[in-house]
Symmetry: C2
Subunit: 309 residues, 2 copies
Amino acid sequence: MSILVVGSVALDTVKTPYGEIEDALGGAATYFAAAASYFAQVNLVGVVGDDFDHNQIEFLKSRNVDLTGLERQTGKTFRWGGVYSNDMNDRETTFTHLNVFESFSPKIPESYRDSEYIFLANIAPELQLDVLKQVHSPKLVALDTMNFWIEGALPALQEVLGKVDILLINDSEAKQLAGENNLVKAARAIHKMGPKTLIIKKGEHGALLIPNDMNFFVAPAYPLETVFDPTGAGDTFAGGFMGYLARTNSINKESLSQALIAGSAMASLCVEKFSLERLKDLTGAQIHGRVQEFSKMMHFDADGAGFNL
Amino acid sequence: MSILVVGSVALDTVKTPYGEIEDALGGAATYFAAAASYFAQVNLVGVVGDDFDHNQIEFLKSRNVDLTGLERQTGKTFRWGGVYSNDMNDRETTFTHLNVFESFSPKIPESYRDSEYIFLANIAPELQLDVLKQVHSPKLVALDTMNFWIEGALPALQEVLGKVDILLINDSEAKQLAGENNLVKAARAIHKMGPKTLIIKKGEHGALLIPNDMNFFVAPAYPLETVFDPTGAGDTFAGGFMGYLARTNSINKESLSQALIAGSAMASLCVEKFSLERLKDLTGAQIHGRVQEFSKMMHFDADGAGFNL
């Protein structure tokens, strides 16, 4: 099954304790597409400026990502700069130049409109709504958002939430959206807004699947000795997650749980190098190997001898 | 196998968004003993003042906890007061009156000295060393500590760490102890100090087992809709963890992983009521039921169809 992703394509200037890069390929749609491409065919919609070097993104074509929907506009490409703290848990945005992304108005090519799986990356809820008007009858729609839209565009966000199946969101933003301090209560409130399934992203603490029957599934973060560059980890996670669902084309507790691990595995691989470098040439065996390491970290016998109390 | 625990017995005055209690039974040794008692016989060493009402702790005797080592001294019992934030993730200590605990000098009764499993709760490292001099040849020694001793008694802490098998510690304190921002690097450094096994406590984000062969195991926190009182969760976790090991009397990757879940299950039950109330009358079926819920939250098929890449 094919996946449509709509979101940013950017050039990132990033500094971490391990080094720095300037104008490296970034953006939510880019990370998502690269990760998802290991699992399924991806259709990308985004915008770049006339300064964008298409050679940077050429590898995505060889990975079966359709770039028909990547618009080129007069002006500069969206640029973002950030500096990470020594423990990688905080980052400071040094600049955000929206450039051509400021007037981004997603146009879904005719050839994309039958995509079965749709990921609305973190953009204005009005634009996310507009994308949904342009597609035919997707099987699954997932959406990412952030505090900026919760604070500044809540009515539109609530409208689009009513039309999506899955919301991917940070734990603090889930609490903010629901106005609840407790994550379980927040999840119940968000289920009522529309999404039957919540994916809570907790960064270095992993991720949580909360379906509306409240049968939780948790994925830890993979304990890495060296995180080179956490940029894009959330979108890479989303790419692995949606990619897995599109590949199996089944949506149930089992596939959603496996998808959560697929996303976690892809994110843990992504942060091992700068920018999208690690996502360019992974093998299926490397990805499956990481998934098996997650399994080893999580497996225990609930009927172990000592539980006979 | 029997477990020896040495630590505080206290009276806690606690305020949470769900209510408040005054002079309720608390203390690290108390929570630990109550939790561990579901798995094995426990010997407790601690001190209370002449104001302590022994009826408060009488239930531990019926749970096969030996209180021979609970000293009664002239003066007041250790009292602690705390107020939790609305999201339960922060707490402010309102007072700490050490009282008779200030001059605590653990005396291990003769009948306790052959205990096979030893838990040195969070007390001064000098006292932890003194306990180890009084016991015969324990099979396993585990130790808890905190930033206060890392900052104020590092040489003694390093000495006692050289003599223990397992260190239980918060993630931020592990980083502080090792002087490393990355948890995996911090674990490697702490393994070199002595403990072959690290248990990293991450509160609402669960716990992590890091053996010195770096074959991690992770336990999530159980997602609770209502946390009544998080006080004692860490010591309850330790009680379930050590209790499980003592019950099975085997120490390997499998039993350590199951013990991590036993600890997590006991902690998740403890916080459902104030003070030790929930730990007084659990059934084996309730504990096993919670363990099975952890299993459901963590189980996935690493050879699921979509991983065939």
